[in-house]
Structure formats: structure tokens, C-alpha cells
Amino acid sequence: MDDLCESSEPVTLTDRRRFAIPRGVRLYGAELHDEALRLSHPISPTGALVVALLDRGFTVTEVAGALSARWHLDRERARRDVDAFVAQLSEAMLLTERPGAPWRTWPRGLRAAMLSVVTHQPPRAQPRRFPLRRGSPVTMVTDIARGVLIGLGWWWLALTLVSTLLVLADDSPLAVLVLVPALFGATVAHEVGHAAAVASRGAGCFLRVRGLAVAVVHTRDAGGVRVHASGALLSAALGITLLAIAAIAGMGWLALATTPFLAQLVTLTVLFGDGRRIATA
């Protein structure tokens, strides 16, 4: 493989994205095995070579250049083929983009922003995959909390900053500060509900974060109304329990903290993916 890449001609194309096989996916010969979903995806030997090269840290351009040099293909066509193949695997979460340093990736972000202005479409965020280990409920909660925290890191930082500024600059009550951890807790509780329902059916799953959207991904066989409704129901049950504690103890700030938990019930309506799946089940 190294020889293949070293023999490639100087690269003139500029797709510097780097991809990696995510945790929970393994490349066995010409087959990608999704350990979380217990699914095998056969790919061609060339496809396996592309995946292996990408996983070793080569950019899309370098891999396309290597393929075109090895099989005397038109470089642009090789790049298009690799690009299409990578897009397909990314969509299936079998390949994920390596997050680059902000000072190296900002030109691409700027291009995506300008393109979104021209096309009137929001920039498509790269999905990130977080494996959920099988084991105790504590392990599941820890894995989901980690994924939600890392996947939406900038969002949590911005919300914390805004709520702190609100408290400092305005006369907003200190209770506003509990809304960010409460929203985090409600998001985690929602996804734990889904993951627990999937696990109770003996199936596997993983956490996917794309933009601000967090989802537990499982096979269609492991789905069902119970799985789709469990996230909102667990979150609301926790919210009602906390509300009862707040009422008994007379803690106003805790009552305010229950609002993100209770609001999760709205995801059971057709405005949200869970509700749409329930409605069409």
C-alpha cells in the first residue's frame, strides 16, 4: 500500500479530507463489518484498498492520485469515483471524517458557508459516530453522555456562555444557569431511553451526532413504536419525578430544570423524527 502511494504522481487536486474507520467498524479483507449493528458490508477489492489507505491517514486526493497512477486512470475520474465511494460509506457511518484543526479546516468551512448562500441550503454537517459498549446501564449512560458532550461541544460551550452573560449582564435569576445542564441531561436521558429499548430487544446500536441532531442508530428490525417512544417517555418520567421532588422540597430552580425534560414529549408528534415513525408504524 505504501508503495502504491509513493508511486503516485504529484497531486494537483485539493480534496484534503482525511477519513478513518470508526470504532465499532472493522475491515476484514473485502468486507466492512459493523460490530454495533452486527452487519457485514461486502465491498470490492479496490474499495477495500481505498478504505485501508484512507484509514492510514492519506487524503482523498492522495488516494485518488494513487489509484489513477496504479491503473492509469484519468485522475479526475478517479477522484470522482473515490469521492462518491467515500460519500456512500460516510452516509452509512462506515467511514468518518477525521476532525482537523480549526486553523487548517477553516478555508473549507468558508467555502461551504459561501456555497450554502448560493444554493440556499444549509451546509451539510459531517456525522460523527460514537460506539455504545454493551454492559451495565451505567456504561450505556456514560457512553451516551460522552457522545452528547463531545459531539455537541461547541453548542454546550455557547449556551453556557450565553446563560452566564445573561446572569451577569442582566438581572436574570441564577436559576437560568441550571438550564444548560438540564438540557444536556434531558438529551442524554432521551437517547438512553432509545438505546435501552433497543438493547432490551437484543439488538445493537450506536450514537450518531450530525450538526445539532443526535440519534441512536439501529437496524430497522430492532425498531418499533416502543423504541421510538421510549426516549421521550424516559425523559418525561425523569422530569415528572424531579418536578415532584421540587414541589415537596420547594426548590424553584429544580422546577425550572425539569422543563427541558418535560418538553421532550413534543418529539412524539409528527414535527419530529420519532413522532413521524410512530405515526407511520
Binding site: A175, A255, L262, A263, V270
Partner: protein, 93 residues
């Protein structure tokens, strides 16, 4: 049947969300000492929260039921549209 179920689900969800959020708001207002709160949309009142000495009194008004009814109808219509959408049908297959 599917439409009716979706309508009922939308109604119940909206009602529970409204009531529990109103209760959370009431307790929070009481704890913050903001005084009385009256939530309304124009002439349609939703909730009235009156705080006293260590007590809070919450009155649920007709607006809560009107919104829940609207949510139920909207959810039923949404489910109906989804059921007849070719994209959804393709996904179900």
C-alpha cells in the same frame, strides 16, 4: 385508525406538556418571588399562577385545552399526510 391514534397522541402530549410546564413555571415563580403570573394569548387565558406565603396556587384555564385540541388535530393531519406521502411509503417498504 392511524389518524385517530395520532390525533389522540397529539392531544395527550400537548396537554401533559402544558400542564407539567405550567406546574414547573409555577414552582419556579414561587421560588423566585416574582409574584403573580398570568399566561394568555390575547383573550385566551392559559394559566394563572398566584404565589403566597409559602404556597402557590395554579389555575388551568380553557386555553390549555384549546391548544391541546389544536395540537391533536394538527398531529392527526400530519400523520394523514405522511401516510399518503410516496416517500414515506417507499421507506416503509
Amino acid at each position: 385508525m392511524r389518524t385517530l391514534r395520532a390525533g389522540l397522541l397529539g392531544f395527550v402530549v400537548a396537554l401533559v406538556v402544558e400542564l407539567t410546564l405550567a406546574a414547573a413555571l409555577g414552582l419556579s415563580v414561587n421560588g423566585s418571588g416574582w409574584g403573580d403570573v398570568r399566561l394568555a394569548l390575547g383573550p385566551l387565558p392559559f394559566v394563572t399562577i398566584e404565589g403566597g406565603e409559602g404556597t402557590v396556587r395554579m389555575s388551568v384555564r380553557e386555553g390549555v385545552f384549546v391548544i391541546a385540541l389544536i395540537a391533536g388535530i394538527a398531529n392527526a393531519v400530519g400523520a394523514r399526510v405522511l401516510a399518503t406521502s410516496p416517500k414515506e411509503a417507499a421507506q416503509e417498504r
